[in-house]
Amino acid sequence: MPYRLLRFGVSRKHPEPRMFTRYDSLKAAYDVVIIGAGGHGLAAAYYLARDHGIRNVAVLEKGYIGGGNTGRNTTIIRSNYLTPEGVKFYDESVRLWQDLAADFDLNLFYSTRGHYTLAHTDAAMRTMRWRAEVNKHYGVRSEAVDADFVKRGIPSIDMTCGGHAPILGALFHAPGAIARHDAVAWGYGRGADRRGVEIHQQTEVTGIRLKGGRVTGVDTTRGHIATSKVLCAVAGFTPRILDMVELHTPIYVHPLQAMVSEPVKPWLDPIIVSGSLHVYVSQSARGELVMGASLDPYELHATRPTLDFVEGLASHMLDMFPFLSEVKVNRQWAGLADMTPDFAPIMGITPVEGFFLDAGWGTWGFKATPVCGKTMSHTVATGRNHPLIEGFTFDRFARYRLTGEKGAASVGH
């Protein structure tokens, strides 16, 4: 066996196909150029090739595949939102998630865990009942549950939360799940690659050329490309791309941090969120506790970690689970969250013809990856917004028709 491995290593012809084709140069023109090879960009490329027959597509990525927020989130998938627009959109996403691993022939470690949003006050309980009713109306499995139900579902939790935030009940969302986030980007990337889409890593977009209000091409660090359609799916880098086409949006960028503990034996099955304590936590297949909290409080375009974040989050974790006091924190990181004033994304066509936007994904973008790919590929292929994204359009601010989704952000921001 080691002999075979050695021979394989020095052989010039590798019999194993690589996951992605590596192209030496860019073509002169593509039908569609997608900026950003994260989950959203690659999903759009995948569905463009698979469902719409548009295969002459380039996905440009200034770093590496899935290296942005796709690889920096806490992998929670749920559809227990507050607005009808949000509930319908994320419910479709949860449906798409179910068959994704089979579609890709790749194990996504998709694991349905159940999702508790804890309520520590009467006001929070009212919001949970409201969300449960909206969810049930649209056929999403959510229910407001009492403290006994929470205690049975999470026997190890301190129901008083350190004595200062007693748990009164929760919104329980049975379809809540986690998945292996890198594999989502790789699965979509490989699927798109096999259908002829070109993925170019380490290729930064430096400018977008316009003529008479429509897109004619893209300048990159590896040369110019002619194209009439550009999809921008770059999360925290969105404002910089929008400057290139002189579009203005309310998007602002704050860092969002997360951390994981050392691996411990499996003890936490469901996903736990507490808005009052600013915590969301789940246990990964490896046994690590994956934890997140609120956004950093001010604008910043850097992914530096802070001690303040770890201290605050650890303290709130101990309110819920005091027995974790000896468990160490292993890693800590940050991503750049592109926030909007109404906590809903900005998607679809823009005033620049041929420039499509998939942005404003702030702290809630991972779970939407499949449905964003579906709806954005439809929008790019037909030039018309997909019906599911009509609540998230670019022009909603000019029409004063905001989609107030803030009540359903997992923790207060």
């Binding site: 949006t249 309310p250 998007i251 602002y252 960028v253 001010y298 000019a398």
Partner: protein, 68 residues
């Protein structure tokens, strides 16, 4: 600021909602919570570096042109 009595709804929405989300050197209002002291900071939002600070009174006299 556009004149709210005469400008169009679209122009007013642009003033109310839109902002420069790109990194740059920007003026911001900050408050030192311990003392309740409000001041203006000129900060590089790419590197998180405070370049200058001004007391609130300085706003009335006019701040230097925004470097971004």
């Amino acid at each position: 600021m556009p004149d709210p009595d005469t400008c169009s709804d679209v122009d007013w929405s642009a003033y109310v909602f839109n902002r420069s989300g790109s990194p740059g050197i920007k003026y911001e209002w900050w408050c030192h919570i311990a003392s309740g002291f409000w001041f203006v900071a000129l900060r590089d939002t790419a590197r998180d570096e405070v370049l200058a600070t001004y007391p609130a009174e300085a706003v009335r006299r006019g701040l230097p042109e925004n470097a971004s």
